[in-house]
Structures are given as C-alpha cells and as structure tokens.
Amino acid sequence: MCGIVGLFLKDPKLEPKLGEMLTDMLVTMTDRGPDSAGIAIYSGARDGLGKITIQSSQPESDFKGLDGALKEAIGKPVTLLEKSTHAVIELPIDQIQAARSALAKLRPGVKVMSVGDSIEIFKEVGLPKDVVKRFDVAKMKGTHGIGHTRMATESAVTTMGAHPFSTGSDQCLVHNGSLSNHNGLRRELVRLGKTFETQNDTEVAAAYVSRKLEEGQSLGEALESGLDDLDGFYTFVVGTKNGFGVVRDPIACKPAVMAETDQYVAFGSEYRALVNLPGIEDARVWEPEPATVYFWER
C-alpha cells in the first residue's frame, strides 16, 4: 500500500494555498504509508533562473558556505535556501549542469533531489505530518504538486527510496504498486546512459518516462508506451513543468479517485484525501479507467 495525492490548479487564486491543501491531503493518507513521505511542488518559473533541490544527512556542514563555493566555481550568482535536510539552490538556468558538476566535487555527500526551473522535491523518512512540518510545506505556493506516503515493499526505507522520484528536468513520478520487470528495464536504461540512486522499482519507471520524453515523446505518449513496457501493479502520477498525468495498469487494483472543478484537478488514492478541497461537494468525481492515460497541461 501507498498513498498518493496530487493537485493541478486551474485557478491562480488558489496558488498561494497549494502547499496547505496538499499538506492536508497527504496527512489524511498517513495510514496508507507511514514509512516516509515526499512532495514535489511546482512553484512557478522565474525568468532565466533554475533550481536545484539538494539533500544531505549532514546539512549543517554540507550547506555551510555552499552558495559562496558554487558562485566561485561557476562565476555566476547563486542563492541557497535551507529547509531542514534539504536546500534549494537558485542560479541562472544555463548554469545547472556546471553547478551539478561542481557540487559533486565540493560536497560529495550531497544528493540531488530535483533540477528544473519550477520543481522542488522534499522527501524524508517519517510520518507524513512530521515530514511536511519539517519542510514547512503548508506555506509553499505553486501551480501544481504531487505528494506520496510510502509503505515500502520493494526496497529499503531511506530518504532516497521515498517518492517522488525525479530523473529529468522538472519531471517527477510517484507510484502505488510494485513492478516486476524493473531489474531488466534498469539494465537497459543504464546502457542508454541513465544513472540510478537506488534499487527501487519506481525510480526505474521514472527514468523510463524521462527517457521517452528525451526521445521526443509527449507525456501522454510516454505513459502510453509504459503500458506496454512496464509489468506489474501501478497507479502512477507524473508531474512535468506544465502538467500532471495519471495512469493505472490494465488490472487497476491500486485505488485512484479524481475530482475536477473549474478551480482544480485533484488526485487521491482514496476519496478521504479530497474531502476538504473547496467545492468538492459539486466536483465531478470519478475513478480513472484502467490502461488509460489522463493528463492536464496548462
């Protein structure tokens, strides 16, 4: 079991409340996955700026002076905003690759959670209520976001094993279920140049979608391809810079409920996660069909 929540806002008036709404949804799903929790927030792009969200098990020493060291390494302005074990580095978008290379040398213990011009990912082991509090998710603003509470079945309960997984710029994926062909697929993706942080099945699905997007497929097409190539149980929710997609395997054992109003499209593993959203009483509520790709883009 795992819990997934997602929110794609159509009404900009709700953007300041994205984090607050996602927090409530995620905490409601605690009993579907108390091991660890994570959230991907698309906080909106700023002209010419990109973001790297990093994580460290020794944030005091790793983050201290890191902005200065990176600025020196790339020769461009860098800001760093610490949030508990994570930090968001903001820098010119064309400097992301250079900064990642510098980061690997300057702070080898630091993990990259996400890169892009809008995405920020925060994830840790622990109860969802503690994880969202640690990162102050309720105060975050944005256009869309995805949250996950994990009950591990496939690999270790670690920070890096928590969802969302991000394997491409501004991309993320969360998963309820388990894949059975991830080892073979991982080998193929490694041959194609993908690198992996964990032994987790979901990371393979995320990398698979990233690879398909790199090959020129749209998000919808990438998820369609996944229906042929990914074997196992899954409900996936996928985020990109502009959109939000959902797909379930053809058997569709893993639960999924969606709600749509003029203001938002929302996803929950259970209806419970959606009950406090504004206007839910009059929302169109439905279950996504098996083996059917849904996505919304702005």
Binding site: I251, A252, C253, P255, V257, E270, Y271, R272, A273, L274, V275, V285, W286, E287, E289, P290
Partner: protein, 229 residues
C-alpha cells in the same frame, strides 16, 4: 431518528452503537453525517434498522450487512457491502472496486456506475447497477443475480459458476467459460422483480436484457489437457 456525527463521535462509537442493536429495537432510524470517505461505516450490522449515510464512504461500507437497509447519499469506496448476508444496501452515486464481493444474500443497488470486479465471487447476493460495470466483474461468481442496465467491461463472468448475469448494454468481452444464454420466462420474472426492488423499473424493461452464464466447461478436468501439466 438517531443522528450520528462521524466527525465528532468517531467510527468506533458508531459501529459499537450499531452492533449493540440486536433483533428488534426501537431505534430503527439512523442517520450518519460527515462520513468524509471514512472506512467500514456501518459494517457488521445485524438488526432490521434503516441507516442513511449523508455523503461518500471509504472502504467496506455496509460490509457483512445482515437485515439492515443502508443507503449511501453519495458514492462508495472499494468493497461496499462485501460479504453481505441479507438486507438492502443502496448507493445513490458510484461504487468503487469489488462492490458486493462474496455477498451471500440481500440486495445491493448502485444507482451510478460500479468499477472493476463488481460481484466478484458472489454467492447468492443480488446486485442491480443502474449504470455500467468495470472489467473482471462477477469473476468466479457462484450464485445470485447481477443486473446491469448499462455496459459491462472486459472479461465479464470469468470462471463463472451458477450466478446469472443480465446486461442491457454492450459487453466488452466475456471471460473464460462465460457464454450468452437464452432468456426464458423465469428470467423475465427474476428481472422484473429485481428491477422493481432495485428502484430501476422506470428505467429499463426485462426484455431489453441479455443473459450470460457458465458454459460449465471448467467444472471438470478435460483429459485432453493432461499433457499440459
């Protein structure tokens, strides 16, 4: 009328109060407000009472129901009326996966659509769905009647025993050993009764349905397949 605010009093208090009702009781009318998708609402009731849930429910609402009439003024999550023994459960909205699974008796009415595996392994329950049902419905269904006014998804009635499946709309595909069968007088009578009790008699007529049942080819081992094992 007993009104119960689930948000304030909690699920355990509700189900304890309902379980305390044995046989005949004066407290025959119950209302549950603020269900907010909670699990196991009114599961295990064993008394001839009338319960209305004002809102949508989570997993296993009205599970194992005996004698009670339970109406959900919203949609129901997975496993509604699972293993129902008797009584009536009416869902005004849609039902999620495996509605009425393993049900042994009583009547389950779903006014909207039911998702996958509706009536899986049903053992005597009657299910009336006003809308459509999802894939793998009535998988290994043993007895009882499943009536669907809309369409059925893939693999209807896979590995079916003796349950009767009546579908008015299209069937996407039939499962292993499930075949269409002739409609006889007795079937029109069953349908007429179930449509009336399922609050659907104004929506559909018995003659609009087709019947599906077991070809009974999986009942015995086929010796021609011996080499496969």
């Amino acid at each position: 009328m007993q009104s119960f605010d689930l948000g304030k009093e909690g699920l355990r208090a509700l189900n304890s109060a309902l379980h305390a009702l044995k046989g005949q009781t004066n407290m025959t009318k119950w209302e549950v407000v603020n269900p907010k998708g909670a699990h196991a609402i009114a599961a295990g009731v064993d008394a001839p009472v009338d319960i209305t849930v004002r809102g949508s429910t989570g997993y296993y609402c009205a599970g194992m129901n005996k004698l009670a009439t339970i109406r959900v003024k919203g949609s129901a999550g997975p496993g509604v009326a699972e293993n129902m023994m008797s009584g009536t459960v009416i869902i005004d909205g849609n039902a999620s996966q495996y509605a009425g699974a393993t049900g042994r008796g009583g009547l389950l009415v779903i006014k909207g659509n039911a998702s996958s595996r509706c009536g899986v392994s049903m053992k005597g329950i009657d299910i009336v769905v006003h809308g459509s049902i999802g894939h793998m419905s009535a998988f290994m269904a043993q007895s009882g009647n499943l009536v669907v006014l809309g369409d059925a998804g893939d693999a209807l009635g896979d590995s079916l025993y003796e349950a009767r499946l009546f579908v008015r709309g299209k069937v996407k595909s039939l499962g292993a050993d499930c075949i269409e069968k002739e409609m006889r007088d007795e079937h029109y009578q069953i349908l007429e009764d179930l449509l009336r009790r399922g609050e659907a008699d104004g929506k559909a007529k018995p003659e609009e349905f087709r019947r599906y049942g077991s070809a009974r080819k999986l009942y015995n081992f086929n010796i021609d397949n011996a080499a496969a094992y």
